[in-house]
């Protein structure tokens, strides 16, 4: 390991954060759908919105690094 490119390490941390966040959202969404299957559509929509916001952040970080 000649040099530790901190840019890339930071980007990796942010992507891990995004991954954890998405996983949590997905998990909670699954639980909510299991509790009330009639509301599947609304929950799905909300999940997609949040996923997109999170992905935007993650990609912005990736491009900055």
């Amino acid at each position: 390991m000649e040099s530790l490119d901190l840019n890339m390490v930071g980007a990796g941390l942010i992507i891990i954060g995004a991954g954890i966040g998405l996983g949590m959202i997905g998990g909670k969404a699954m639980e909510a759908i299991a509790r009330q299957p009639e509301a599947t559509n609304k929950i799905q929509t909300a999940m997609i919105i949040i996923a997109a916001l999170l992905e935007g952040l993650a990609f912005a970080a990736l491009f900055a690094a």
Binding site: I48, A52, L53, E55, G56, F59, A60, F63
Partner: protein, 375 residues
């Protein structure tokens, strides 16, 4: 599935797959056509190939003939604003190798940007590799601009004919049958829940335009034509700026109150919230821009890199394996194309909705009926 359905599915999926495969085969020889004589390094060639596909360019290369080393293209006009407007065709640049003379000034293309040079075409580079030559204001019609015009024309014709067909019959026929549920979806799922039934009509034009434009342009970026409109951050910047202007100029008093003098919080917090809210006002369109640009560009770069890996490895296993990966990622890209259009439209509708909503009376919680008497 019955036999005919399976057959149709296979043919359809083959049609998806072929363009990517064909695109992969053509180009390494083309690169040898450009640089004659040098021993070609695979990695720089791949990088050149990726750049050539993803960046904007001043002439529209339709296809290239590998053996003859020529391209079938048509050159696009270059419009520069230097001292006075100069218009000339990009054939003068000879694909970036010659110096073009126009109106007493010399210009040269370096990495797809036009710089002003002297007759010998010298580009002086600073230490970090960026040229220090002056750049004229570049309004030329590049590949992206041309393609935006084409898409705008197609969209106009498509939707105009659809609108006109409603005067004759209530139920749409033909291609309009595809478009009508999409338009209704944008209205009922995106516009009305966020903007409200009374005011959504004014903004439907913008939301529909943005939705279909981004979707069609994203899809076209996946074809081997090589036009990547949303790959350039300037295009997404303009889209986000339009959303920003619409939100600002149609915001009513409640919106500005919420930004500058948030009702319902103590005065100290109001003052502390002002910079945060103002910053948020600018960051929201900025995030729209970055999200669209980064998603689409990252997807394209991944596809191109995977295709390039085939040429790095060059054995019998890597070829099909990477090809399979590429197909997989391309199918995901189809989903991303739609999703990004949907998200952009949805968030635009959300911001517009928060800007025009009426004042609710939130007087805070009424705690007296929250208290539950537990045993």
């Amino acid at each position: 599935m019955s036999a005919s359905k399976t057959a149709k599915f296979l043919v359809f999926s083959l049609l998806f797959v072929l363009p990517f495969g064909l695109g992969a085969q053509e180009h390494p020889e083309e690169k040898d056509g450009f640089k004659t004589g040098d021993p070609v390094d695979t990695k720089t060639e791949i990088k050149n190939y990726i750049d050539h596909h993803l960046l904007d360019s001043h002439d529209f290369i339709l296809w290239s003939d590998a053996e003859a080393g020529t391209h079938t293209s048509f050159p696009l006009p270059i419009i520069i604003f230097d001292d006075g407007i100069q218009v000339f065709s990009s054939t003068k640049f000879h694909h970036g190798e010659a110096v073009a003379k126009s109106g007493g000034n010399y210009y040269k293309i370096y990495h797809n940007k036009i710089y002003k040079t002297d007759a010998a075409g010298s580009i002086t580079l600073a230490e970090d590799g960026h040229p220090v030559n002056k750049r004229p204001l570049d309004f030329s019609i590049t590949k992206n601009v041309f393609f935006i015009f084409v898409i705008a024309l197609i969209m106009f014709l498509m939707f105009r004919s659809m609108a006109l067909s409603y005067t004759k019959k209530q139920v749409p026929t033909g291609f309009n049958r595809l478009l009508e549920p999409l338009v209704i979806y944008v209205r009922d799922e995106i516009a009305i829940p966020n903007i409200g039934k009374k005011k959504h009509r004014k903004y439907m034009g913008f939301l529909l335009t943005v939705f279909f434009f981004i979707w069609i342009v994203n899809l076209m970026g996946l074809t081997p034509l090589g036009v990547n409109v949303t790959n350039s951050i300037s295009v997404t910047l303009c889209l986000a700026v339009i959303t920003f202007f619409i939100v600002q100029f149609t915001a009513n008093k409640n919106h500005w109150m919420h930004i500058f003098w948030m009702p319902g919080v103590p005065v100290i917090m109001k003052i502390a919230l002002i910079p945060i809210e103002v910053l948020g006002m600018f960051i929201k369109p900025f995030a729209l821009m970055i999200r669209l640009y980064a998603n689409i560009t990252a997807g394209h770069v991944v596809i191109m890199s995977l295709l390039g890996m085939i040429f790095v490895f060059k054995n019998w296993i890597a070829g099909p394996a990477f090809f399979g990966f590429t197909i997989f990622i391309s199918v995901i890209e189809l989903l991303v194309a739609f999703l990004q259009a949907y998200i952009f439209t949805l968030l635009s509708a959300l911001y517009i909705g928060s800007a025009v909503e009426e004042h609710h009376h939130d007087d805070g919680f009424d705690l007296s009926d929250e208290v539950s008497v537990t045993h």
